[in-house]
Structures are given as C-alpha cells and as structure tokens.
C-alpha cells in the first residue's frame, strides 16, 4: 500500500466505523427483524417476506404512503420558494440586517414538538387562536383539523413555518459565495433582474439548492413529531405518515411488522437521496 492510500484509509476509517456502527447495523437489523413475526403472545417465527405481503394489502399502509409522498411535495416546494425569497432579501444590504437575520431563524430554533404544540393551540376548535380571531371579526369558527384536506394543509402550514428559515439560511450561505462582479457585469450588459436571477444566481447556487432540497425532503418524508402532536394521524387516519404508522406497530408490540414499515420508509428516503445526489452532480461541483 502506498503512503497516499494508507493515509486515505486512515482518515476515512473513523467515519466508516461510525456510520457502520450507528447506521448500517441498525438498518440491517431492522431489515432482518422485518422477516420475522415478533409478537409476545406467539413464539417468534421466520416469515420471509410475508410481513411485506401483509403490508401491501393493508389500506392504511397505502394511505400512509400516499401521505408520505404528498406531504414533502407540497411542503418542500413551498419552503423552497419562500426560503429563496427570504434568502434574497436577507442577502441585500440594509440597516439592522444582522438582527433581521437572527429573528428570521427563530421558528427553526424552537424545538419541533413545542412548535407543533403552538400550532395545535392555534388550530384548536374551541379555544384556538385562529377561531378566536374569526369569531372576533364576526365569522363562524372552522374545524381546521376536521377534514382530510384541512388537516393536511394545517400540517403543511406548521411545517413550512418551522423549516423555511432553515432553507433560507442554507440558500443565503450559497448566495454569499456568488461573486458580485458577475452581477455588475450583467447590469452593464443590460440584463434584467429575473435574467440575472435565472442565468447567474440559480446556476451558481444549484449545489446549495440541492443540499437544502435533500435535507428538507428526507426530513419531510420521515415526518413524525408535528403529526403526532397536531392531528395524531386523524381524522380517520388520513394524515398518518409512514413513520407514525410504523411507530404504532412498535407500540402495539408487533416488532416484525413495524420493522417492515420502517424498511419501506428507508427505501423511499434512500431512493430520493440517490436521485438528488445524481441531480446535484456533486462530483463535478466538488472537483
């Protein structure tokens, strides 16, 4: 082994070990568990892929899968658009910019369960803030979480509120590395604002956009806390995500079946991550 290779191995070894121990082993163990029937009241037995067959005929599983795909599509899209606008504003020079940047981050700094609790108290039918405002201006109160669409949008709203600052900060970091001369040059050439944005800003910060997308999408696919707090998966299971669905089976004591839900969730998240990494062309960006 030559020296360079030796060093490379040495430097990556801790990370590889760390990832194997804390990520690879649990993932493989979960997969292994998903092949068993593991409930307390009958002896543990090997099922092969039977848990997955049961999963595919489980209506709640499909409902949860649909939710798990729709939720990131809607919420991440909104977060990216609003986050970009905020980042562009925060990138401009103005008085108290530092303070405004700090304030913009507050929702992200609030622990997500507490943020979710705040929204739950806003949406509550009887003494929620939203209905209080409605009744004060003479409108009838709305049962925000009472319909599938209402519950879905309420969750999207809460998620967008909390995580948009995160997107904005990442994008802001990207904006700051765009050389200002390019804009001045473009201005001299007579490029409009939207042209400057589309032809200069966006291509240059694309890797950063992909990173923000990647983080946010994976997070939104695994969404659990805000649903657990705000809707509990209701009404009628319409806002149950895959992670909440799997969690319920762990709680109910069927570890094999719960594991099979986790495996599917892992596969979805993994495929999305691969897709983004391919889109990001990180190899080129880094070299």
């Amino acid at each position: 082994m030559n020296r360079a290779l030796k060093e490379a191995v040495l430097f990556t070894l801790p990370l590889v070990l760390f990832i194997s121990l804390f990520i690879l082993v649990p993932v493989l163990a979960t997969f292994w568990n998903s092949l068993w029937q593991d409930v307390s009241f009958i002896p543990r037995r090997f099922l092969g892929f039977e848990n997955f067959l049961r999963l595919f005929s489980d209506r709640q599983f499909w409902q949860a899968t649909t939710f798990t795909i729709l939720f990131p599509m809607v919420s991440v899209t909104l977060e990216m658009i609003i986050g970009m606008i905020i980042a562009l504003v925060l990138n401009e020079r103005f008085r108290y910019r530092g303070i405004v940047r700090g304030i913009a981050l507050i929702p992200w700094a609030i622990p997500s369960v507490i943020g979710a609790r705040i929204w739950q108290l806003i949406y509550r039918y009887d003494y929620g803030v939203a209905n209080y405002v409605l009744t004060k201006i003479g409108l009838a109160p709305v049962n925000w979480l009472g319909s599938p669409l209402g519950a879905f949008l309420s969750l999207v709203f809460a998620d967008v509120w909390r995580t948009t600052p995160f997107v904005a900060i990442i994008l802001l970091a990207g904006l700051q590395i765009v050389p200002q001369e390019l804009y001045r040059q473009a201005q001299v050439d007579g490029a409009h604002l939207h042209q400057r944005f589309l032809k200069i800003t966006l291509p240059l910060i694309k890797p950063v956009v992909i990173v923000a997308l990647l983080f946010r999408t994976i997070d939104a696919i695994r969404v659990f806390d805000i649903i657990y707090v705000i809707t509990g998966g209701g009404p009628g299971g319409f806002t149950t995500s895959l992670s909440l669905h799997g969690y319920k089976y762990f709680l109910l004591g069927d570890f094999g079946y719960g594991s099979s839900v986790s495996v599917i969730l892992f596969v979805i998240a993994f495929l999305v991550a691969l897709l983004y990494i391919k889109m990001g062309k990180f190899r080129e960006a880094l070299l």
Binding site: Q37, V39, S40, F41, I42, R54, S57, D58, R59, Q60, R124, Y125, D126, N143, L145, G146, S147, P148, T231, G232, G233, G234, P235, G236, G237, F238, K248, Y249, L251, L252, G253, D254, Y257
Partner: protein, 426 residues
C-alpha cells in the same frame, strides 16, 4: 469531558458495593398514574414494608397509559425478574396472559384469606380468567357513566333521558334556549377523538342498540345492522341534530369533555366516574348541579357501560413469588381498598366495599356505580386487542368525520380485522 482516573475508580467501586449489598431479594412494584397517585402508592408501600419487613422498590411509571404499557412489556419480553408486581389496564390482561407473563394465582388464593367472591363475578370472568386460571385481580373499576345538569333540567321542567331518542329531544330544546345566553352551549359531549376512548364510547352505543364487537362464537363481527345504526346515531349527534360540538371527533378525549361540561357549556356528558369528584370540587362552576346515572339506551335495547379499570398481576419471572403474592394480597385487602377509595376516589375492585358506611357517605351515588359494574361490558380479551382497537378507532373516526358512511367504515374495518386475526392464527 474528561473523567479523572480517581473518579472512575470511585465510580466502579461504588457500583460494586451497590451490587454486592443487594443480598436479600427486593420486590419491585411498578405503578404509574397522576403524580399524586404514585406519591400515595409510595406511602402505602412504606406501610407494607413496616408491617411485614419485606422490602419493596416502587418503580414509578408515567401518567400516559401507552407508556406505562411499554414500560412493562419491555422487561417482561426480556424475561426480567423485575418488576415482580404491577398494575395493568383491563385491556392488557389478555395480551399479558397469552404471552405467559402472568403467574396463575389460584393456588395462592386457596391458601389465602382473599375470597374471590368478594369481587364482581362478571368482571373476574370477563377479565381475570385465562385458560381457566385466575391471573389478575381488580384493584379499581371504571365504566362509562352519564352525567346531567340537574339545575337545567329543572329550569325547563324536563327529566333525565332514559333513551337516546329522549336525549335528542331534551338536548335540542334546552340547547336552543341556552344558546341565547351562551352561544357555545351544546347538548351532549362525549369522547370521539381517534383513541381508545372512542372505542369505549362506541361499544356503549353499539350494545345499547343490541350490537357489539363479537358474535356469539367470540369472532369479531362489526359489520351488522345494530352497529351501523349506533354509529349512524353517533354521526348524527354531531352533524344532523348538532347537539354535540363539531370538534367531537378531532379533539374530544375525557379531559376535554370533562372541562367542557364543567365550564357549564353542556347539558349531558359521557365520562368515566372520576369526573364526578372533579365536578363537585369547590371551584367547579357546576358544583352541586350534577346528576349521575347509567347511559341512556335505544328504544329496544338496554343501557350499557364499557368496563375500564386497573388490575394487579404477578410476573411469571418474579424471583420471590411468595412475597409478591403478599404484596398483591395487601393491595386488594379491605383496608387498603377502602383507603384508595377514600383518598384517591377510586371505585374499589371489591364489591363488599360498596356497602361500607363511610364510603357510602363519601360517594352518595355508589349504588349507581355498583349496578353499572355488575352490568359493565368488557372489551374483548384478545392478545392482539390493541391492534384490533387501533384499526376500529381509525374507521369509527372516519365515519364520525363524514369521510366514510357508517356502513362502509364498519365493513372495511371488519375486513382489516380479519386480516389481523389471520396474521396471528397460523
């Protein structure tokens, strides 16, 4: 953080001392609930230790029922010797017994002063018997009750309803009048959110319509006329008669329901017996104006109440079965059960306490409760009950929200449950 060598050695030495000094086995008693309840259990266990010389550790569990269950399932599944004695929600007994975690206590009972006939026979039969052995004993009982505002009924010259039909007409009348003063006023509040309490409420409606969860052969049979009628009625309470608030199916759990009623915003309430003590507290706006009785029934059926409560069991893996039984014996004794009733307001598991003079003075409606417990319907004792329940809750909730018709909801949950049953029977 850097730990000095000396600290480390001290720490290891301390561990060694602790582990060596533990010679005589110590019982572990797992109990949870509201903090004041657990505090009270600790005092009670102190008394037991002093009078018997048996050492007991109290394993404090959280208030949340699901977490309490998890806290027991994990050590039991791992065949740990602790906890030795624990309290179980009625609906866990089936799973715990089928998992072979509970010690049959028939032989203990034979040698003991505890007479099984002092408990409610129907409760013992529905909950505590597994494969013809007794595996648990009731510590306290619970069941769905009907609360009404005496003052409002009197004001409008109406009486408490015996049937659902009467309930609707009385509630509609009074709600309309009361709305003039209080626009938030509703006729009837009950538990409709997607959680275990919804299934309890549904079973009461279903049984009162002549339906239920199981058929005569003990098979799950949800999709039938009586159940559809019952679920339709629950739906109509919210959407057609509009005497139950629109957030019934999104937010109403027992505490939300209790507060709604207690703040004077409802005429009738379905809740567990604990609500009575709180309604009668000095700072309660409805103090002195609350009546309690069995729930109404359909015009053809009979009133029903879903059985709840907590039962005591001994772990199969306990390393000190004799002392574990002595602890259980202590907890179900007349004196301790009486204390639990007087201090915590629990409804005793033993039926002989319902004739105790002091308790009768403290809980004037005790005869109503006794009657209800004699007729209470337990939820099925299936080992996979929690999964069945979770599925049914989801469909019931979908029907209450109007996204499925009652017939659709019951038919689909029936199909789902058959799949669950099949998955565990092969």
């Amino acid at each position: 953080m850097k730990i000095s060598r000396d600290t480390y050695i001290l720490f290891v030495a301390a561990l060694l001392v602790i582990s060596c000094s533990k010679e005589q086995p110590v019982l572990t008693f797992a109990v949870g609930g509201a903090p004041n309840e657990v505090d009270y259990w600790e005092r009670l266990i102190d008394k037991f230790e002093k009078s018997t010389g048996i050492r007991v550790d109290v394993m404090r569990q959280p208030t949340d029922t699901d977490q309490r269950r998890q806290g027991l399932v994990i050590p039991l599944k791992a065949k740990q010797k602790d906890p030795d004695v624990f309290l179980m929600d009625v609906i866990w007994v089936g799973q715990f017994a089928a998992s072979d975690w509970l010690l049959p206590i028939d032989s203990c009972l034979e040698k003991s002063d505890v007479d099984i006939n002092t408990f409610f026979r129907s409760i013992i039969q529905q909950v505590d018997v597994f494969e013809e052995s007794i595996v648990a004993l009731p510590v306290y009982n619970d069941c769905g009750m009907f609360y009404y505002r005496k003052d409002l009924l009197q004001k409008y010259g109406l009486s408490a309803p015996q049937t659902w039909y009467e309930l609707v007409s009385v509630a509609e009348k009074i709600q309309e009048k009361e709305r003039n003063k209080n626009p938030q006023f509703y006729g009837f509040v009950w538990q409709g959110a997607q959680y275990e309490g919804l299934l309890c409420t549904f079973l009461e409606f279903a049984h009162s319509y002549g339906g239920g969860l199981l058929d005569e052969n003990g098979k799950v049979h949800l999709h039938r006329r009586e159940n559809i009628e019952a679920l339709q009625f629950m739906h109509d309470l919210i959407h057609k008669y509009e005497i139950s608030p629109p957030n019934t199916f999104t937010e109403m759990k027992e505490e939300e329901v209790r507060l709604f009623f207690e703040n004077g915003n409802a005429l009738f309430e379905r809740n567990w017996p604990y609500a009575w003590g709180l309604h009668e507290r000095d700072d309660s706006p409805v103090k002195g104006n609350v009546g309690i009785m069995m729930l109404p029934k359909s015009s053809t059926g009979k009133a029903a109440a879903t059985l709840g409560g907590w039962h005591i069991g001994i772990s199969r893996y306990s390393d000190d079965i004799n002392n574990a039984w002595r602890l259980a014996e202590f907890i179900v004794s007349y004196a301790v059960q009486k204390e639990l009733t007087l201090v915590l307001g629990w409804n005793p598991g033993r039926s002989d306490l319902y004739d105790d003079q002091e308790i009768r003075e403290r809980i004037p409606h005790i005869d109503v409760l006794k009657d209800a417990f004699n007729n209470a319907v337990a939820r099925p004792n299936l080992p996979y009950y929690t999964q069945v329940s979770e599925t049914i809750q989801r469909y019931l909730n979908a029907a209450l929200s109007g996204n499925l018709t009652p017939a659709q909801a019951l038919e689909e949950s029936q199909t789902e449950i058959e799949k669950i049953v099949k998955a565990y029977h092969e």
